[in-house]
Every structure is written in structure tokens, then in C-alpha cells.
């Protein structure tokens, strides 16, 4: 039974080998291999969900094999409720992205090979229970991402790729220092790289001497970890890589970036920063909440000012991930559950938005809502593309948190969670909901209403393939908006355990 998880982790690599072995000229074979691989992965993740035991907060499907035994480094993977959701999201989004990448023409073989490699590494980050393994996957993940942006991106792609790479790398260096420090402090024993064994506030009383002065070990290294994960989320002062990366990345990569990779940051908080340094996390919660609040408001304001559709959605991601940070900072049942749910829901709704932008981009080859010269980039799309409009509306309203679609419940839970601890912040943060509706609907109004722009007369409505890959996301957004229990039941035990731990500090 534990084998499923290993299969999910390594199947994309097998698929990648398959892609590499396929002759370069057989582009359709390459696409089919990728599609089949991602599809099987998705089916396996559904199977994983079915077999998942929701009653326990323990790790399930655990595999532990010694890897570098001198340093007690193990190939140690397993999942709990939080990871389960991310696994499903990752498997689903990669399947959809494969379909949406059908039209990629440039160097097809390398593209799909890198895509599969990315999938495996992202799974690796989520599954790893060994710190060293985690770090390896965390860094290796940058590699396919760097090339996917740097080769298949837009006109300014190298800049965006390098920026993305350096930002993340900068953060992960601090994380590495933290990992090494933990290794030494925990006695270099058998569990020094074991994330689970390090959890539970074991370092509350440790101190560290730097330049002759004594500091709390927890505080110092919590902030080191914080930096590594906050850049990935991204939280306010570290967010500037995101718009560049999103604007330059190809559609599928944007989807993955917004849908899964950003969640790795908040996942890091949930799995590593909070449980290992609970005291410091609890002390830092106000700062995290304020940064989350700034992300929410600031991201929304910035999004409002954008004329580029993708940039607008990128900033909206900053805003939405700010809600996740707020929920994490709350450290209450409602807030934490809301944050994890928001991670999933943002994954689906933002993926929808980016895919829709991609669909339109394939027709128009520009993304201007308003062109730099002040004329409308689109206009009257609702008349011309009815199917597209319908699906766009679902994604749009899921993003802005309409009850009945998925975004609302998570945002409401987050507000409930933070209210008691940060009342003032709650009062300000609701403005984020207002602004969220404002920029999204304003964009919608400028693009879809009005007379049909002569440019868009020749556009065709979504074809069967495009509709097909949007349907799973639509179902997710609607069904989980009405019945969130399938998601909440899976994660609540794990989240509850974390909340219980944090509530002691």
C-alpha cells in the first residue's frame, strides 16, 4: 500500500525517461506519453485519497530507506492531510497543463521532459519527511522551472528566469543554514534530518552564540526559515519576482507556478517553520499577520493598476496568498483550516484564470486589457466567445470569493480565525475582499462588455480540448464551494494537531 506514494513520486520521472527516449520528431507521441503519465499520476492520487485514513494526524504511506547513512540521511517520504490536498492539486494541475500545452511548438521534447521533471520534484518537496531530501527537491525544482521560463517564456524571459532563480535561491540559502544548524543542535544523531522528529518545540531553550552574543536559537532560525518560505509564498517585501515570472512564463508554467509552487512556501510554514519552532512562530505571529495584511491590500491595489491581464492575476495571487498568511498567523482551528483550504482553492481558481488568459493569448497574442496607447485590448468578448465567457465567469467569481464557489469558504474561515487574535487586522483585511471584487470585475467589464472590437471578430470560441481541460477545475471550484467537507475532513486532523501544538506556546 505504501507503494502508491512512491509510484506517484517516481512515475513522472519514468515518463520523463520515456519522453527522452522518444525520437524528437514524433511530437505527438511525446505529448501522449506525457499525458498518459500525468493521467495515471492523477488516478493514483485519487486512489491515494480513497485509501487515505482521515481519522489520524499521523504520517501515512511512509517509506523510509537509508540513503547516506553516515549522516543519517534517509529517503523518507509520507503524507498527512495537508499534503494529501497538495498531492491531489499537483496531480490535477499537471494533467491539465499537459493538455493546455498541446499547442507548444518550440522544442517539444525538452518542454515535456522538463514538465514531468518539475512534477516529480514538486511531489518530492511535498512528500519529503527528511530535511536533506526536502532541500534537495526544493533546489532541484528550480532547475526545470528556470529552463521552462527561460526558454519558453515571453520576450523578457531570461530576466524573469534569472530573477526567479536568484530570489528563490537567496531564500533557500538561509534555509540551508537553518537545516545545518538544526542538524548540529539536535546532536547529529539518527533523527537529525528527520522533520517529524524535530517537530514539537524541542529547541525552545537552546541558545546560539554569534559574535560573542547569545541569542535564542528558535528565534534566529525561525526567521531564517521564514525568509526561505516567505520568498516562495510570496509575502509582501519579497513578492517582486512573481509578476515578472508570471508575465514571462508560458501558460502552463504560470499555472503551475501560481497553483502549486506558491503553496510550497506556505506548506513550508505548516510542515517546518511552525512545528519545529513553535515558540518563535507564536511570537512572530503578529508580524506574519501584518505582512499578510499588507500583501492582501497592497497586492490588490497593485492589481487594480495593471493593464496587463497576466500581471493583474499575478498581483491577485499576492493578495490571495496574503490571506493564507493571515490564516497561518492566526494559529487557530478556523484560521489554519481556512489557510490550507485557501491554498487548495487558490490553486484551482488561479489556475483557471491563468488557463483562460492562455486560451485568449493563443488567439490574440497580446494580453493588454488596455493597450499602452489607451485603446481597448479586447472588448465585446462576451458576445463573441460565449463558452469562454461562461467559464471565465466561474473562475472570476471563484477568485473573488462568491459564496457557492470555492474561494469564499476559505476566506470566511480565515476571517473567523484571525478575528479573535487580530481584530483590527480583520477589520482592515475585509477591504481586501472589496478590492478583490473591484479589480477582477473591472477587468471583466473592460474585456467582455461593449461593442465587439474588430480585432476579435476572427477569434474562435474554445475548442473541445480547451473546454475539456477546464471542466475538472470548474467541477472542483463549484463542488468544493458547496461541499467543502471532502477537503476539510482530510486535513482537519493534521491541522488540528498543529493547532494544538501551537496553542501551547
Amino acid at each position: 500500500m505504501n507503494g502508491i506514494l512512491n509510484w506517484i513520486l517516481w512515475l513522472p520521472i519514468i515518463g520523463m525517461v520515456g519522453v527522452i527516449l522518444t525520437p524528437k520528431a514524433k511530437e505527438n507521441t511525446i505529448r501522449m506519453v506525457t499525458l498518459v503519465t500525468t493521467f495515471i499520476t492523477m488516478v493514483l492520487s485519487v486512489l491515494l485519497y480513497v485509501k487515505f485514513d482521515t481519522t489520524t494526524a499521523d504520517m501515512q504511506f511512509v517509506t523510509k530507506i537509508p540513503w547516506i547513512s553516515q549522516f543519517h540521511i534517509n529517503y523518507f517520504i509520507g503524507i498527512d492531510g495537508i499534503t494529501m490536498l497538495m498531492t491531489f492539486l499537483n496531480a490535477l494541475l499537471f494533467f491539465i497543463c499537459t493538455l493546455s500545452s498541446w499547442t507548444v511548438e518550440k522544442n517539444v521534447k525538452a518542454y515535456f521532459a522538463l514538465l514531468l521533471m518539475l512534477q516529480s520534484t514538486v511531489f518530492g518537496v511535498f512528500f519529503s519527511l527528511d530535511f536533506f531530501l526536502f532541500y534537495v527537491y526544493w533546489e532541484v525544482m528550480l532547475l526545470p522551472m528556470f529552463f521552462l521560463i527561460g526558454i519558453w517564456g515571453g520576450e523578457n524571459r531570461e530576466y524573469a528566469a534569472v530573477k526567479f532563480f536568484l530570489y528563490t535561491f537567496f531564500g533557500s540559502i538561509f534555509m540551508l543554514v537553518g537545516i545545518v544548524a538544526l542538524y548540529f543542535v539536535s546532536g547529529q544523531g539518527a533523527d537529525s534530518f528527520n522533520i517529524l522528529a524535530l517537530q514539537g518545540g524541542k529547541f525552545v531553550n537552546e541558545t546560539v552564540v554569534i559574535f560573542g552574543k547569545s541569542f535564542s536559537f528558535e528565534t534566529i532560525f525561525f526567521w531564517f526559515m521564514f525568509l526561505g518560505f516567505a520568498i516562495k509564498v510570496p509575502v509582501f517585501p519579497f513578492h517582486t519576482w512573481l509578476p515578472h515570472a508570471h508575465v514571462q512564463a508560458p501558460t502552463a508554467v504560470s499555472v503551475i507556478l501560481a497553483g502549486v509552487l506558491l503553496k510550497m512556501g506556505s506548506y513550508g510554514f505548516l510542515r517546518i517553520a511552525f512545528p519545529i519552532f513553535p515558540q518563535a512562530a507564536s511570537d512572530a505571529s503578529t508580524i506574519i499577520a501584518v505582512l499578510g495584511l499588507i500583501s492582501v491590500i497592497y497586492g490588490a491595489f497593485c492589481a487594480m493598476a495593471q493593464d496587463d491581464m497576466k500581471k493583474l492575476i499575478a498581483y491577485s495571487s499576492v493578495s490571495h496568498m496574503g490571506f493564507v498568511m493571515l490564516g497561518l498567523a492566526a494559529m487557530t482551528t478556523q484560521g489554519m483550516n481556512g489557510a490550507v483550504l485557501q491554498m487548495f482553492n487558490h490553486g484551482t481558481s488561479t489556475a483557471m484564470m491563468f488557463l483562460m488568459v492562455g486560451v485568449l493569448y493563443e488567439r490574440s497574442h497580446h494580453r493588454w486589457i488596455v493597450r499602452p496607447d489607451g485603446s481597448k485590448g479586447y472588448g465585446g468578448l462576451a458576445t463573441k466567445l460565449p463558452k469562454y465567457t461562461t467559464i471565465y465567469i466561474i473562475g472570476l467569481f471563484a477568485s473573488l470569493g462568491l459564496p457557492g464557489l470555492s474561494g469564499f469558504i476559505s476566506e470566511a474561515l480565515i476571517f473567523l480565525g484571525i478575528y479573535e487574535k487580530f481584530t483590527t487586522i480583520t477589520v482592515i483585511a475585509v477591504v481586501g475582499l472589496l478590492l478583490g471584487a473591484a479589480y477582477l470585475l473591472w477587468m471583466f467589464k473592460r474585456m467582455f462588455f461593449g461593442e465587439v472590437n474588430p480585432d476579435i471578430e476572427k477569434y474562435e470560441d474554445m475548442n473541445a480540448r480547451e473546454v475539456f481541460y477546464m471542466i475538472p477545475l470548474c467541477i472542483c471550484v463549484i463542488v468544493f464551494g458547496i461541499f467543502p467537507s471532502p477537503l476539510l475532513n482530510v486535513m482537519k486532523a493534521s491541522v488540528g494537531q498543529l493547532v494544538d501544538l501551537l496553542s501551547k506556546y
Binding site: 482551528t333 473567523l416 477589520v427
Partner: protein
């Protein structure tokens, strides 16, 4: 009667199913599924009527209610229990509201099958209309504020979709955006209020809130320096202001008339806009506890009077009705504010009936003659006798003429307002409430009859213009060739049915509305008896049922009682005498004022012996035509004022961008801020902070800059320095 899932759920689910089917297969169904939508509403109507019958015709007592709950989702872990419960809460008010909503919605659906026939948006219209109806019914039935909020937002979405249904019109986009965003301002506050209540009380079910008020759980609780009760009451009322289009947030409702007329009738006249009144009534004990009723009354009075004045000069028939809706909503809010719980709710019902009918009549006219500017109409009485009859009945009702429903409900509100303003020992400044209320009542009579006279009386002015020579339906009703209206089950029978219910005795139980000539005999004044402000003490340890269980409580006989606006029928009220006096004065005064209004309208538009407003007070008319410059104030003034200040500050780096938006009035004042933050993000944080060559203020900049310089040797130097410093600090 037993209540189970089987006979409550269909009320909500039937329209939902119609929505789902129409959304996916509407195009393939005959007539794009409009019959399905109508049928589904009819099913809701049948089930609602059954509940109404049970509750109203003597089966249950005033304080009876059904409360069934189920768990929506559950976040409990270990000893930490936290569940989100949803449920159905049906009391007398719910039963009345259910009947009204499903009944009016059914008639409007029926009318729409005629009105929207051959319209290009036929299918889409009949997709959203059942969804809206289900959301409204769901909102009415829900037992807690959270569920209410969910349905509230879904209604907002339907409203957004229906206002913007003609996507080709740029103005439709603007109007829908404006409607959604303006109501959203209220909504986020409503959500905030709900969150605050939830986290302090542990539940947002109405019964739990009532119980908490009774148990004094609010005492000593504060939110950011304000007492919890005031804060939450204010938040919830702000939500109500957005949805019910009260004074500062009223700007969206007139624009909302961009949508198809039947949609306006259902959403923006009869039901959705009364949701704000509904939640204010449901949370009335909280409003009293939070001591904001005076604020509610003032807001209502300003809206009631202000909107009535604007309605006087409108020439578009739908605009007149839109402003009259605003004004009537103001009366309902006054009713809430002055403690006239029963009458405010009655006005919700009576207004829904006559305003729906008015809008449908307007729709009938517009669809027949393809003209909605009143100066171009006139003399339609001969061509459209049925519509004329229905519209006249409703006009009499809204104007407050005795024997009609509007008189009954509005007069009671005004009577209570009179008592509230002059006799209850409140702050003397609050006398403004009854004064504005009565003035508004006079104006209502005036502008409604102005509309009637201009539309149906006088000479036919249709010949004076080219009335849409080509029309895409292939109809030929234009110019002088308007065909005589026939009795049609879909066009005017719904109007006539609604018109029947504009008579006052249905609601008052007596012909005059003052309990003098009784019609219903023993069950006289059922409305007064059954609807009263919730008595919070009764909800401590209230019974609650799970979905599956059946109702086992002992039914009590209907208890008779006299109407008494503040203490219900609990006992002799020392102020009862004063209140009665106020009501008598109010009734007489409102009859006189209404008659005066009708008379002036008659003299002005039929006899033409008084000069019209526009020539008499040209300056003031101009102000009214511009709606007191609210739109201009929000859009132009705020933006431009804010903009100029920012421009001076920001022009040194980017003048062109801001200039462009100064002219464009579509955005809010936030635009300036957005631009500023965009600039801040791009230039300061990103360019200077990360890429900039500026002084290395912090290490982060420095490191990135050095790495990006590409000079490998500098890299080496850094490496060596770092290693060396490591060795020196570690002290090997």
C-alpha cells in the same frame, strides 16, 4: 402538520434544478426552458403556500417556529469542537415572505415568458431568474446569518448578471459593475459583523443571537473601542444599506434598470432589495441593543424623501419606478428605525406586490410601444385598458390612498414615526424623521400620478416622433397603430392578479386598514397578530431539530392580541394612548397629504393650470435631474480632488498616466492609490530596491546586485572574504 426535508427542501431545490438544467441544456430545450423555470417556481409556490396556510390560518401560535439544522462542515479535532451548522428557520414572517417571494416570482416568470420572447438573451435570462429566486427563498428560510450572507451574495451575482445581460452595451457593463461593487461595500461589513458575532457568541443562528442578547452575553464586549453590540449592529445595517440601496450607497439602484424590466421587477423592486430590510428586521433586537435605531430611522428618512424628490423630474418611466423603489425602501427602513416592526414588514410585502405590478405594467407598455420616455407617451388608456387598470390600482396603493395596501402599511410606519419623532421623548432633532416621511408621502402621490397622467392620459404624443421604425421582432405596434390590448394569460393576467392584492384588506383584515370594517371576522388583523419583534427571552434553551426528525411539539392555538408597537401584546402599555393618538393624526395627515399630491399632479398635467416644475423652479429641477450630483460627486469630484493632490506629488515621474484617468470618470478615487502603489512597486521596491544601482542600503540589494553584475572575479573576492571572516569568527 409534520415538516420534513421532503416538504421544505423543494421550495429551494426546484428552482436550483431548473437553473442547472437551463444552464447546461437550456439551448436544446423548447423555448429555451422558460417553461421549466416557471414550473419550478410554481412548485416552490405550492409548497410555500402550504407552509403559509399552516402558519397563518390558525394552526400555530405567534411564537411558533420550526428550526431544523444539519452540519455543513465540521472542523472538530480532539476536544476542540467547531461545527458550521446550516438549517431552516421558519416562523410566521418566513411563511409570509416565502409566499410573497414565490408568488410574485411565479407571476413575473409568467410575464417574462411573454416579455422576453424572441429576445436574444431569452435563455440566459431564464437561467439566472430561477437561480435568483432560489437564492432569495433560501435566504428567507436560512436559520443563521452566515447562510443568509451566502445567499445574499448569490443574489448579488444574479443581479450583476441580469443588469449586465445585454453585454453589447457599454453602459450595461458600467451599471452592473457599479451595482455589484456598491453592494459589495455593504457586504464586506456584513461579513465582518457576522465574523465578530460568530467568534464572540460561538454561533450566528438567529435563535442563538437572540438567546445571547437575553442572557446578556454582549455586556462588556468591545471591538476596536466600540461596544460589540453597536459594532455588529452597525456592520449588519451597513450591509442592509448596500443591498437595500440606502442613502450613501443608493447610487446603484437607478442604474440597475439597464436589465430587462421583469428582472428589475423581481430583483430590484420586489425581493432582493428588501433583503436589507429583512436582515434588519431579523436582527432588530441587536439593533435595539446596539442603540442604532435612531441612525436607521434617519438614513431611511433621508432616502425616502431624497429619492422621492428625484423621482419628480424623471422622464423615463423605469427611472421613476426605480426612484420610487428607493423611496419606499426608505420607508421600510424608517419603519425598522422607529420600532414599527410589524408595519415595516407589511410594507415589504405590500410594496413587493404593487411595485412588481408597476414594473410589469411598465414592461407591458415598453414592450408594446417600444418607448419608455414619458413625454413621448400619453393617452395609452384607450389602447391598453388592462395595463391601465392594473397600474392605476398600484399607483393608488403606492400613493397611500385609503382602502389600498400602501395606505395601510405606510400609514402605520408614518404613525409610528410621528410618535417616535414628537412624542416619545427622543432627541428633538429626530423630528426630522416624520417630517421627511410625510413630505415624501406627498411627493410619492405627486410623482406617481404624474407618471400615470403622462403615460395614460392626455393626448397621444406617439405620432410626434419616429418610434423605432424598424423593430427586430417583426411586431407592428408603433406610431398610431398601437393595437388594442387583449386579455393575455402571460401579458396582463399576472398584472391583474397582482392588482387584486393591492387592496388593503388582505393585509389589514379590515376595509379601512384601521380595524373598523372587518372582513376576516374572527382572525381579524392576522398580520398584526402574527408578526412581531422577536422576544429574546423565549429563545433561551430553544428547541432545535435535526433534519431527519419530525416535529413533535404541541401546537398551541392562535392567540389573539391587539397591535402594540413596542411591547407586543404583553400587557397594557402606558404609552398606548399616545401611540393611538399619533396613529389617528398620522392617518388623517397622510390622507390629506396624498390627496394634495394627487391634486397638484392633476392640475399640473391634466388641467395644465399650474406650470410644471421645470419652468417653475428651473434651478432646483436641474439639481434633481442630476440626482443631487451624487454620481458626479463619487466619480468626478472625489477622483479629481484626490487626483490633483496626488498629481502634484507624482507628476515628476509620470504625468501622462494620471492625466488619462483624470478625464476618465469610470474609476473610483482608489485609482489614484492603485497607480501610486503600482509605481511604488515597480520603481521603488523592484527597480531601486532590487535591480537598482543605488547605494547598497541593505545586504539584500548588495548581494543581488553583485551576483547580477556577472563579474566572476568579484564573486571570488566575496567568497574569500566570507570564508576568511568565517575562520576569524569561529576561532578555530
Amino acid at each position: 402538520m409534520e415538516y420534513t426535508v421532503g416538504n421544505i427542501a423543494p421550495i429551494f431545490l426546484a428552482p436550483v434544478i431548473a437553473f442547472v438544467i437551463n444552464a447546461f441544456f437550456g439551448r436544446k430545450l423548447p423555448r429555451q426552458g422558460d417553461w421549466l423555470a416557471t414550473l419550478s417556481i410554481f412548485i416552490s409556490f405550492i409548497f410555500s403556500a402550504r407552509i403559509f396556510g399552516d402558519f397563518v390560518f390558525g394552526t400555530f401560535a405567534t411564537d411558533h417556529f420550526i428550526h431544523k439544522t444539519f452540519t455543513w462542515f465540521d472542523l472538530s479535532h480532539g476536544a476542540n469542537i467547531w461545527k458550521v451548522n446550516m438549517g431552516v428557520y421558519i416562523d410566521n414572517m418566513t411563511a409570509i415572505m416565502l409566499l410573497m417571494v414565490s408568488g410574485v416570482a411565479f407571476l413575473i416568470h409568467l410575464f417574462s415568458t411573454w416579455y422576453m420572447d424572441h429576445d436574444e438573451k431569452h435563455g440566459r435570462f431564464f437561467t439566472f431568474l430561477p437561480l435568483f429566486t432560489s437564492a432569495m427563498l433560501g435566504m428567507v428560510m436560512s436559520d443563521n446569518l452566515f447562510a443568509l450572507f451566502c445567499f445574499w451574495e448569490v443574489m448579488g451575482f444574479c443581479s450583476y448578471s441580469l443588469i449586465g445581460i445585454y453585454v453589447k452595451k457599454e453602459a450595461a457593463g458600467d451599471a452592473s459593475l457599479k451595482a455589484f461593487m456598491t453592494t459589495r461595500i455593504g457586504d464586506v461589513f456584513l461579513l465582518l459583523g457576522i465574523v465578530a458575532l460568530w467568534m464572540v457568541l460561538g454561533s450566528v443562528a438567529y435563535v442563538d443571537i437572540y438567546a445571547a442578547i437575553a442572557e446578556g452575553k454582549f455586556a462588556g464586549q468591545t471591538v476596536i473601542g466600540i461596544s460589540l453590540a453597536t459594532f455588529t449592529a452597525l456592520c449588519i445595517f451597513l450591509g442592509a444599506m448596500g443591498k437595500s440601496a440606502q442613502f450613501p450607497l443608493h447610487v446603484w439602484l437607478p442604474d440597475a434598470m439597464m436589465g430587462p424590466t421583469p428582472g428589475s421587477a423581481l430583483i430590484h423592486a420586489a425581493t432582493m432589495v428588501t433583503a436589507g430590510v429583512w436582515v434588519s428586521l431579523r436582527m432588530y433586537p441587536l439593533m435595539v441593543l446596539g442603540d442604532i435605531t435612531w441612525f436607521i430611522a434617519v438614513i431611511g428618512a433621508i432616502t425616502a424623501f431624497g429619492a422621492a424628490t428625484v423621482a419628480m423630474v424623471q422622464t423615463d418611466i423605469k427611472a421613476v419606478l426605480a426612484y420610487s423603489t428607493l423611496s419606499q425602501l426608505g420607508y421600510m427602513i424608517i419603519g425598522v428605525g422607529v420600532g414599527s416592526y410589524n408595519a415595516a414588514f407589511m410594507h415589504v410585502i405590500t410594496h413587493a406586490v404593487f411595485k412588481a405590478c408597476l414594473f410589469l405594467s411598465a414592461g407591458s407598455i415598453i414592450h408594446t410601444v417600444h418607448e419608455q420616455e414619458m413625454p413621448k407617451l400619453g393617452g395609452l388608456r384607450k389602447y391598453m385598458p388592462y395595463t391601465h387598470f392594473a397600474m392605476m390600482a398600484c399607483t393608488l396603493a403606492i400613493a397611500g390612498i385609503p382602502f389600498f395596501s400602501g395606505f395601510v402599511s405606510k400609514d402605520r410606519i408614518l404613525g409610528d414615526a410621528l410618535y417616535f419623532g414628537f412624542m416619545s421623548g427622543q432627541n428633538p432633532l429626530l423630528a426630522i424623521v416624520p417630517i421627511l416621511g410625510f413630505a415624501g408621502a406627498g411627493l410619492t402621490a405627486f410623482y406617481m400620478f404624474r407618471m400615470m397622467f403622462l403615460t395614460f392620459y392626455g393626448e397621444n404624443r406617439m405620432g410626434h416622433h419616429d418610434a423605432h421604425g424598424e423593430d427586430h421582432h417583426g411586431d407592428h405596434h408603433h406610431g398610431h397603430e398601437i393595437h388594442h390590448e387583449h386579455l393575455d394569460a402571460r401579458q396582463n393576467v399576472p398584472l391583474l392578479i397582482l392588482a387584486i392584492f393591492t387592496l388593503g384588506f388582505w393585509f389589514a383584515g379590515s376595509l379601512t386598514g384601521q380595524g373598523i370594517v372587518k372582513v376576516f371576522g374572527e382572525k381579524t388583523e392576522w398580520f398584526k397578530v402574527l408578526v412581531e419583534a422577536p422576544k429574546v427571552e423565549r429563545f433561551v434553551n430553544h428547541p432545535r431539530e435535526a433534519w431527519g426528525s419530525t416535529d413533535t411539539r404541541v401546537k398551541t392555538e392562535l392567540t389573539k392580541a391587539r397591535y402594540d408597537h413596542q411591547t407586543g401584546y404583553a400587557g397594557p402599555n402606558p404609552d398606548e394612548h399616545k401611540i393611538h393618538t399619533a396613529h389617528v393624526i398620522g392617518a388623517i395627515a397622510s390622507i390629506i397629504i396624498a390627496a394634495l399630491g394627487v391634486l397638484i399632479a392633476f392640475l399640473m398635467y391634466i388641467k395644465k393650470s399650474i406650470k410644471p416644475l421645470a419652468t417653475r423652479f428651473p434651478g432646483y429641477t436641474e439639481v434633481l435631474r442630476n440626482k443631487y450630483y451624487f454620481d458626479n460627486f463619487y466619480i468626478d469630484v472625489l477622483i479629481k480632488k484626490g487626483l490633483l493632490g496626488f498629481n502634484r506629488f507624482l507628476s515628476w515621474f509620470d504625468m501622462g498616466i494620471f492625466d488619462r484617468y483624470a478625464v476618465d470618470g469610470a474609476a473610483a478615487v482608489n485609482r489614484v492609490l492603485f497607480k501610486a502603489s503600482k509605481w511604488f512597486d515597480n520603481v521603488v521596491v523592484d527597480a531601486v530596491g532590487v535591480d537598482g544601482t543605488g547605494v547598497a542600503v541593505n545586504l539584500f540589494n548588495l548581494v543581488l546586485r553583485i551576483i547580477q553584475s556577472g563579474k566572476i572575479q568579484f564573486y571570488f573576492v566575496m567568497l574569500v572574504v566570507v570564508l576568511a571572516s568565517y575562520i576569524w569568527t569561529v576561532n578555530i
